[in-house]
Symmetry: C2
Subunit: 420 residues, 2 copies
């Protein structure tokens, strides 16, 4: 009897995580003689714990193909971090119990740092319990902060969205700045790593072009230096475009967004470092300011995905299945840059113990001397990752994204109650 | 000797105002035997007052064609409202002085309400002074608030951007809401008219689909009713997506964004009604909230322009030239809907006195009974306006927008100092 497989999505979704799902499902369908049923977990790892499983065979080939260009997590994702093996061994044992009930040998877990760690632990406990598993981590994160891989699926499309948006807003500012807004600030994601903010620099090929200033969470925010560069930029070019990571910090290591601003109720404001910076510029330099907060728009903007990102997302999914079938366990397929110009890449794989629980920040050599822009080295790294367009099909003027049927299978096991 | 023409952009730019510029310039180039030089004013009406003029003949056909897909204002726009004829007659006389020095008979003024009024006054004072002018207003505004015209060039593309963004963010929320954000709020432009907010509804074809709630500036914001619908929506669907106009007001007629929130410096926060609503939902209903503020991104997002909007923007520019050449003065070419299904339209024209200083709000029949969504009548009106894609060309992963040479002509007149 053929062994079965299960696929689950984890953590914040991206505009191309479903392209990885497509890669996994498509590869499994191609390997019908070696893999039985491919289940998908409903709402990520919670779907496995609670036996909320979907038989992907109920989805048509056409609908599965549509995953290639549909943002969000088609089977549901979740923010749920399993505790350590020592603290809540029961949850890990439950995963194995469900795997066993469904004759699962292949576990494809599509996520970032946390899920790499979970995936590793699943393989460890399965080994301990003598359960044969091939646990494969499929990388995904807009934050681009996984180690070993040259870049993370999901990042290139956010980068393209951010660089395009800043280029467009820059055209707007340039045409209006004589009598209107002088300073525009765009806040992008990135709590600890400045990769997304850095990518906006691709819109700027000389120092006169927006963005003029980029604020990274890796460096301490220096108000005086910042304001002086804003002023200098407005004096030189008539306007100043700024991109800030949501996670910039003061010299006490506190998030700027959590310090200082409070609302009528006396609460620290949710997010909103952009509004704080706008107020600072307005108060100190008297310039008219505007700001945008992209928030979820940036990680769901499938309409402006990078083709190379879509292709890599599919490739890691596809490779995950092939690596599992060739007997690999506790590994992550990753993207390796082979040549810079023309850009080319292959899929290699790494041990999960070398990936889980490490975070990759912007190296100092990627940030320029004054700390407010990127270096050529960084530009060379980023430039290939936003290449190519992959327009979704449109219907009635809007992208024609798919909703799967997601019919759940009947449960076989008693309900699970976590008792950590 | 052939008479010359001048083209100027006014007020907030759109992603297709340059498509109207293309329409004007292209038509003038086609009419070389009837129109001499086509000047463009640098930074709008200020460029005429200060004789900062560009000879568009210096721009290649290829660059002019690229205006079709370039956002922002290619010659610069401005926020500068001429005072009334009574208050500052000198400014109007200066316009005529510049027209006369450059042998201008055709004045194409591309803007919204204010510029329609300016255009009308220019024609009046020219008439008084016995100067022959054909003053043509080319409509443009993302706010969609000009009267007589079925819709305004610039609006359809913002509508497409907003509906696409909300559709995409909705996919993100739906896949994460079980364990993460339950409420997402997107703030869009619209101080007095809710057209842009309304357009987000095109992403929702049944009540389960985002956006679930739309807040219009035409209605008084009712906190109790709002919170109760948010709660009900989260209970029914697991999450709630909200689109708010920046201009929503309380029952005292005050902007919500200016009431209540202040920062560490004690200033009312710039913009940011979305953060206020997020805090309200978080505090009262305990849901995790996220919010996005699109700001200038929405009006510069040429990468997701509606093809019909681009075509109409070109058509009003083209028609403006032809109407001027056939002797019309003090008029505005506008878009007339001919058939609903299939959607078809023609260009007609209206007298400026019937357009200037009127504002078109969402009629009550376009807002549903509870005040938090649109009606079918509104949907039928909006749906055709976002149709079709018009992807710009891309280079190195980013839209390949054009910057014109914008070489200024040598001044002939003494400097102008406004002495209002």
């Amino acid at each position: 009897m053929l062994k079965n497989a299960i696929y689950a999505q984890s953590g914040g979704v991206t505009s191309v995580i479903n392209a990885s799902a497509f890669g996994v499902i498509n590869a499994c369908r191609d390997m019908k003689d070696r893999i039985g049923t491919l289940y998908a977990a409903y709402n990520g790892i919670l779907g496995i714990l609670h036996e909320d499983l979907i038989d992907t065979a109920n989805e048509s080939d056409a609908d599965i193909k549509a995953l290639r260009y549909t943002p969000g997590g088609a089977f549901g994702s979740c923010r749920y971090k399993l505790e350590s093996l020592e603290k809540n061994r029961k949850e890990y044992e439950r995963l194995i119990e469900v795997f066993s009930a469904y004759n699962i040998e292949y576990f494809f877990y599509n996520g970032g740092n946390d899920s790499a760690d979970t995936c590793l632990k699943v393989s460890l406990i399965a080994n301990e319990l003598g359960y044969p598993i091939k646990a494969i981590h499929i990388p995904k994160t807009i934050d681009n902060d996984l180690v070993i891989t040259d870049n993370c699926p999901g990042f290139g499309s956010v980068a393209k969205y951010v660089a395009t948006s800043i280029k467009e807003a820059g055209f707007d500012l340039a045409s209006m700045c004589a009598t209107s807004t002088k300073v525009f600030i765009m806040e992008v994601m990135g709590r600890n790593a400045g990769w997304i903010a850095a990518s906006s620099a691709l819109a700027s090929t000389d120092s006169s072009m927006p963005p003029h200033i980029i604020l990274f969470p890796e460096l301490v925010f220096d108000e005086g230096k910042f304001l002086s560069i804003v002023e200098q930029t407005v004096k030189s070019y008539g306007y100043c475009v700024i991109v800030t990571s949501e996670g910039i910090k003061n010299n006490a290591g506190e998030l700027l967004s959590a310090s200082g601003i409070s609302d009528a109720f006396g609460h620290a404001q949710l997010g909103g470092v952009a509004s704080l910076l706008a107020e600072m510029v307005h108060k100190k330099l008297k310039y008219k300011c505007h700001y945008a907060i992209a928030d979820y728009l940036q990680r769901s903007a499938r309409h402006i995905a990078a083709r190379v990102d879509v292709e890599q997302a599919i490739a890691v999914g596809d490779a995950g299945v092939k690596l599992a079938l060739s007997g690999h366990n506790a590994i992550m397929p990753y993207i390796k840059r082979v040549t810079q110009e023309p850009y080319s890449w292959i899929i290699d794989y790494a041990k999960l113990e070398d990936v889980a629980n490490y975070e990759r920040f912007m190296p100092r050599s990627f940030i320029n001397k004054n700390g407010f822009h990127i270096t050529e080295e960084c530009r060379n790294y980023l430039a290939p990752l936003i290449q190519g367009e992959d327009h979704p099909p449109y219907i009635d003027g809007l992208p024609n994204y798919i909703k799967l049927k997601n019919v759940k299978v009947n449960k076989k096991l008693p309900a699970f109650t976590s008792t950590s």
